[in-house]
């Protein structure tokens, strides 16, 4: 299924800001090989439209108003493993990395315009490259471990949720985790949602409530 150098790369955009989707589309369509095959502004739209368009690459905003972009991304990756994913976030390194690892994405991109190398990243991922290195995954795991010492919400992860989180970090899809842990895929999905909730990675509204009541740890803050 990997596209040859000459074939078109089909891209799907998931971002709740219409203006961002338009900007991305303009930029990506200026690249001859790229074709933007669809857009979604919400998690529900994404889940409905991505299967219909079967893109090579889906680009997700980490947070969507009606659910987590991470959740949707995992779902798509689990059901359509051929569709690669990139997480696009305007958040800091640490959280962006966490998002990408949790989402089962090939990589993450900060919403910088020039420095992000969006085009290069898409080309690389389309060619089957994994942008997240094992060191990145390890960093994300350590950051969860550290946060779990200071954040009471993380301490509340059940052993099963911890196992699920561990398998997520190994890059497994929900289906694969289900097979490994002898759980229905649906059950894994519920665990994932719970884990995301406890990690503060859920939908924007919920995350905003969390952010308002839990100051972020100093270590996870943005780099200027």
């Amino acid at each position: 299924m990997q596209p040859e150098d000459s074939t078109a790369i089909r891209i799907f955009l998931v971002d709740d800001h219409e203006i961002v989707r338009r900007g991305l589309r303009e930029l990506l369509e200026s690249v001859p090989r790229f074709e933007v095959v669809g857009e979604a502004g919400t998690a529900a739209e994404a889940l409905a439209r991505i299967p219909a368009t079967s893109p090579d690459i889906a680009i997700f905003d980490a947070r969507l108003p009606d659910g987590s972009g991470i959740d949707v991304c995992r779902e798509i990756r689990s059901r359509y493993p051929a569709t690669k994913a990139l997480i696009l976030t305007s958040f800091d390194d640490e959280r962006a990395l966490s998002s990408a690892v949790l989402a089962g994405a090939a990589g993450y991109l900060l919403k910088d315009i020039k420095g992000n190398g969006l085009v290069d990243a898409i080309l690389a991922v389309a060619a089957g490259k994994q942008l997240l290195t094992p060191a990145d995954v390890e960093r994300a795991r350590r950051s969860w471990a550290r946060e779990s010492q200071v954040d009471p919400r993380l301490q509340s992860l059940s052993p099963q949720e911890r196992r699920v989180l561990d398998h997520i970090a190994r890059g497994m899809t929900n289906r694969e985790i289900g097979l490994t842990l002898s759980l229905a895929e649906k059950t894994v999905k519920n665990y994932v949602t719970a884990v995301l909730g406890k990690l503060g990675m859920e939908s924007r509204t919920q995350a905003a409530v969390f952010a308002a009541t839990h100051p972020p740890s100093a270590g996870g803050a943005a780099s200027p």
Partner: protein, 587 residues
């Protein structure tokens, strides 16, 4: 009882007998008329006296007037009103008439209630003696006491309770006190009881009003948002004056459950505060019995006397906080709301105040309770304000993220797309410059969002730096060394924010570019703050993007400081960032 006329001359003859009888009769009549008119006069004088003593409301003045009037009415040279203490056995006050201050001083201590004075205390009935010294209960006079012969005394009652005794001695003219004198004195004593009762009620009302006012003022200070230490200083001062104590100490529990002295008020010095420099935390009351006392919630009145075993160290600990006698009554009043312990109000009196402190405790307890309410209300108010502020910051951060960054990003993407298809190189350059400017703007905003979050977590700066260093371990692959000095807790807020940003950025630079195997970070405070980050990496790459360094430099210059990057021997880099402690300047 002498008539105005000389005795009638003797008359001769038959007329004499009759004349004599008539003279006698006339004398008798005249004398009776005089007696009657004298009684009339005394009655009028008594009425005037009653009017005079009941007119006043100031207790000491009323007592003085009673003694003066009594002496006047029964022609006594000396008079005194002895006030009984709460124990009903000893005199605590002795208001005199007829003695000069010098004479009083020469006698020395006021009578406590021995001898005949004591007899009247034990048997509260009117007592009249021709010669004081002849009575079996007589105890004799102290040296320098004026001689006193005739004596008359009567209890002064307020609603069946003996308030004290009225003593009169030395009937003018050397005679003894008569039945009539006794009746008049009894009548006056009855009126005196009413007058004293009124004056005491008035005094109590006035005092309660003063306590209420003090309570209201402290509450208002707290609810107006004045800092707790200032309000507690005021509370200590008012409570000391109102309870006529030597020392008042207010201690409140801090976040760690320690009982920290907030205010000490003592007589004389007039100083309020913790004794330490302003703003510095006061001493901690760490005796393990304090929590027990405070959780119990009941006020405690400790009476210690010289020679007592050292088992009252809670009182001793309080008294040691001020220049007061080591012994005497000490009240420990828990400041609590329900089961929530807030602190303690401790009051120390001089030893001789023992008889009067009991009723003061009844005034201190409601005061402490009101202060507890006000403290809790003020703290809640403060928390609500903080929360509103945090929510507002959170909202601003969210809006900037959700709207501003997204728009700039989208616009930048659009420009970049245009640049790709632009025909002219000049247009491309222009567009690329614009994209770069937008990228910078996005970084600035992301930075601002970070700072807004940071301010939402007003945690200990020390811990924040430690956390940053700890977190940097993930990127570096090894733990950086860290040296922090103690001045970190007293930095201005604006400087705190910059310091944190500088530590983050400097560590991030090392982990991105330096390829180091060891990093040492130190923060030193003094007249300036200096952050030093030294690594053993490959040194500064002249090609590396400089926006991060420019950012550090700008943050230094805002505080009148500077940024230096120097090579380290044999390899590596030393970054030195300094900032002044004054308010940030322009630029």
């Amino acid at each position: 009882m002498q008539g105005p006329h000389p005795p009638a001359p003797p008359h001769p003859g038959w007329l004499s007998t009759t004349a004599l009888d008539l003279d006698d009769l006339l004398d008798e009549l005249r004398s009776r008329a005089q007696a009657s008119s004298r009684s009339q006069q005394r009655l009028e004088a008594l009425l005037d006296a009653v009017m005079a003593i009941t007119a006043g409301l100031d207790l000491p003045e009323v007592l003085t007037r009673i003694v003066d009037c009594a002496c006047d009415l029964v022609d006594a040279t000396y008079g005194a009103l002895g006030v009984l203490g709460p124990d009903g056995e000893h005199l605590v006050e002795f208001v005199t008439h007829g003695l000069t201050q010098a004479e009083r001083d020469a006698i020395g201590d006021l009578p406590r209630g021995h001898g005949v004075l004591g007899l009247l205390i034990r048997e509260p009935h009117p007592l009249r003696l021709d010669t004081l010294a002849d009575h079996p209960a007589s105890y004799g006079f102290p040296p320098n006491h004026p001689p006193m012969g005739s004596f008359m005394g009567t209890p002064v009652r307020i609603r069946e309770q003996v308030f004290g005794n009225l003593y009169l001695t030395e009937k003018i003219g050397g005679a003894r006190f008569s039945d009539e004198d006794e009746s008049i004195l009894e009548a006056l004593a009855a009126a005196a009881g009413i007058a004293i009762d009124n004056a005491r009620l008035y005094e109590r009302t006035m005092r309660q009003r003063q306590w209420m006012e003090a309570t209201g003022e402290v509450s208002q200070m707290l609810l107006e948002g004045r800092d707790e230490a200032a309000a507690m200083g005021y509370l200590a001062g008012r409570a000391r004056v109102l309870s006529r104590a030597d020392l008042v100490v207010v201690a409140l529990q801090d976040g760690d459950g320690r009982l920290v002295v907030q205010a000490v008020d003592t007589d004389g010095s007039g100083a309020t505060g913790t004794g330490a420099s302003p703003g510095a935390p006061g001493p901690v009351l760490d005796d393990p019995r304090w929590p027990h006392l405070l959780q119990g919630g009941a006020p405690l009145l400790l009476l210690t006397r010289p020679g007592d075993p050292d088992d009252a160290t809670l009182a001793a600990a309080v008294r040691a906080l001020g220049p007061v006698s080591a012994h005497g009554p000490t009240a420990l009043v828990p400041v609590h709301l329900g089961s929530d312990v807030i602190g303690v109000l401790a009051v120390a009196w001089p030893p001789d105040a023992e008889p009067v402190v009991g009723h003061l405790l009844d005034l201190l307890v409601p005061l402490a309770h009101q202060v507890a309410l006000a403290l809790v209300a003020a703290r809640n108010q403060h928390t609500r304000g903080q929360l509103a502020l945090l929510e507002e910051r959170e909202r601003i951060a969210r809006d900037m993220h959700d709207h501003v960054i997204q728009r700039l990003f989208a616009t930048g993407l659009s420009l970049q797309a245009t640049s790709r298809v632009a025909g002219s190189a000049a247009v491309r350059t222009r567009l690329d410059d614009a994209v770069e400017a937008l990228d910078e703007a996005i970084k600035d905003i992301r930075h601002t969002i970070f700072e807004l979050h940071r301010q939402n977590a007003p945690s200990d700066l020390r811990r924040e730096v430690e956390d940053l260093v700890h977190a940097a371990q993930d990127g570096l692959g090894f733990p950086p060394g860290l040296t922090l000095d103690d001045g970190l807790s007293s930095l201005p807020v604006e400087l705190e924010a910059d310091l944190v940003a500088v530590v983050r950025e400097a560590l991030a630079n090392v982990s991105r570019h330096a390829r180091a195997t060891a990093v040492q970070l130190s923060v030193a405070t003094g007249d300036t703050v200096t952050v030093t980050v030294s690594d053993d990496g490959v040194g500064v790459d002249p090609q590396a993007p400089t926006s991060g360094l420019a950012n550090l430099r700008a943050r230094a210059e805002r505080h009148g400081g500077s940024l230096r990057l120097e090579p380290r021997s044999p390899h590596g880099t030393v970054l030195t960032w300094t900032a002044g402690l004054g308010p940030p300047g322009g630029g």
